[in-house]
């Protein structure tokens, strides 16, 4: 089975979606949060 790779792309697309949402004309000021981040567990030193 293959390991997932570090996914900066999905992080960037999530940030992009949140940024687009932030420019909507909702009355409340929108809060942008990066709520989901995927990481490659192999991107972790200390593992065999």
């Amino acid at each position: 089975m293959e390991e997932p790779t570090a996914s900066t792309e999905s992080s960037e697309s999530i940030a992009a979606i949140a940024a687009i949402a932030a420019t909507s004309d909702d009355e409340d000021e929108l809060i942008e949060e990066l709520l989901v981040e995927e990481i490659s567990i192999d991107g972790m030193c200390g593992v065999y």
Partner: protein, 371 residues
């Protein structure tokens, strides 16, 4: 909103490891010159089968997602498959590392039928001439046969794991091609001066010119290749960081359980200095993970120390604590392989390096000189 970074959250430690390395035995049929655990002879105080199952039960309750099983050579243990089955039945994934000597066609089939299981074959050269001086006579053929057995059993993608040395840096493309031929994933990891590696490190570790080669190669191939994030010290070489979190997870996200149940920050620091406790302690593994002094110290913010005046500390994090410790360097200073050259002068004034208290080696391996 001021959100701490993911890396900040990880550096302060998690409630349980994401995964951990578990060395099942110090027994090994090989005597690799760089063995990080100085393996060879079984320790008489090895965890029993019952104790091993108890560790797995505890890991399951902590929701550790998977274990990286190794050794020594883990398949030497008579209860190897019992341990593997116990783990996967409790929802703990198993990834194990082997030299392949015991990976017969029948065992390959059994592994192919086991869910949540990944296999990693160790290899340090594209041919016996490169590999065997490091891993022992016949070890290349053994590894290739194990790979063939996995392929014939329809195991699917396995991993080939190489430790990068002065003698195999030029073979990285070849390793990738080998992995591609098997449909396997290549893993490339850093040599640390741990265990028997302390004696062979000065001859085996890549030169500073080679380090640049490795960095460039990883930038080009890093998306397809696993590194265990072991090259983050090279990030000081350029603007572009290598893929991965680029942080040391020892004692924060991962740790080691050794064959006699002792818990260390990681497999590269099997030494009292980094020992956190034992699974045989009253609080078990979870008590050690949550409360040990060693791990609390690692989870505190680490200062740059002597590296504060160098502009690259954020990129390289001061390198690897195992590399520093076992070359006799202070932990709050440069890595021995510091790409900005701060390691070399530090090594010149370093004292004698610490040695592991217990050595399970069967014989002193002799590194055959290369022509």
């Amino acid at each position: 909103m001021n959100q701490p970074s993911l890396v900040d959250d990880l550096k302060s430690g998690l409630d349980a490891p994401i995964c951990l390395t578990w060395e099942l035995t110090y027994a090994c049929n090989l005597q690799c010159v760089h063995c990080l655990s100085s393996s060879g002879r079984r320790d008489p105080d090895e965890l029993t089968s019952a104790e091993a199952f108890g560790v797995l039960d505890e890991l399951a309750s902590m929701q550790v997602f998977y274990v990286n099983i190794g050794g020594g050579e883990p398949m030497i243990r008579k209860d190897f498959f019992d341990i593997v089955d116990h783990a996967v039945e409790r929802g703990i994934g198993v990834k194990f590392s082997t030299n392949g000597a015991y990976l017969t066609p029948e065992r390959a089939q059994r592994l192919a039928a086991t869910p949540y299981l990944d296999v990693q074959i160790s290899l340090d050269g594209l041919d016996a001439a490169t590999n065997d001086p490091v891993r022992g006579k016949g070890s290349y053929a053994i590894a290739r046969r194990a790979m063939d057995n996995l392929a014939d059993a329809g195991f699917g993608p396995f991993k080939i794991s190489i430790v990068v040395t002065r003698h195999n840096v030029g073979q990285l493309d070849g390793f990738k091609a080998l992995a591609d031929r098997y449909g396997a994933t290549l893993r490339v990891t850093r040599l640390r001066p741990s265990g028997r590696g302390a004696d062979s490190w000065h001859e085996l570790h890549p030169t500073s010119v080679q380090q640049r080669e490795i960095y460039r190669w990883l930038l080009e191939h890093g998306a397809d290749v696993l590194t265990g994030d072991s090259f983050f010290h090279l990030n000081a070489l350029g603007e572009q960081p290598l893929p991965g979190l680029n942080m040391c997870g020892a004692g924060r996200v991962v740790c080691l359980i050794d064959p006699i149940g002792d818990v260390y920050a990681c497999p590269f620091v099997i030494h009292d200095e980094f020992k956190a406790g034992s699974v045989r302690d009253a609080g078990g593994f979870s008590g050690v993970w949550r409360n040990s002094h060693t791990f609390r110290e690692l989870r505190r913010p680490q200062s740059a120390g002597a590296c504060a005046s160098c502009g690259q500390f954020d990129a390289c994090q001061g390198g690897c604590m195992a590399a520093k410790y076992f070359t006799g360097l202070p932990l709050d200073g440069p890595d021995p392989e510091c790409v900005n050259g701060h390691g070399e002068p530090a090594l010149k004034v370093a004292g004698p390096h610490p040695i592991m208290a217990v050595d399970h080696s069967r014989a002193v391996p002799i590194l055959l000189s290369r022509r």
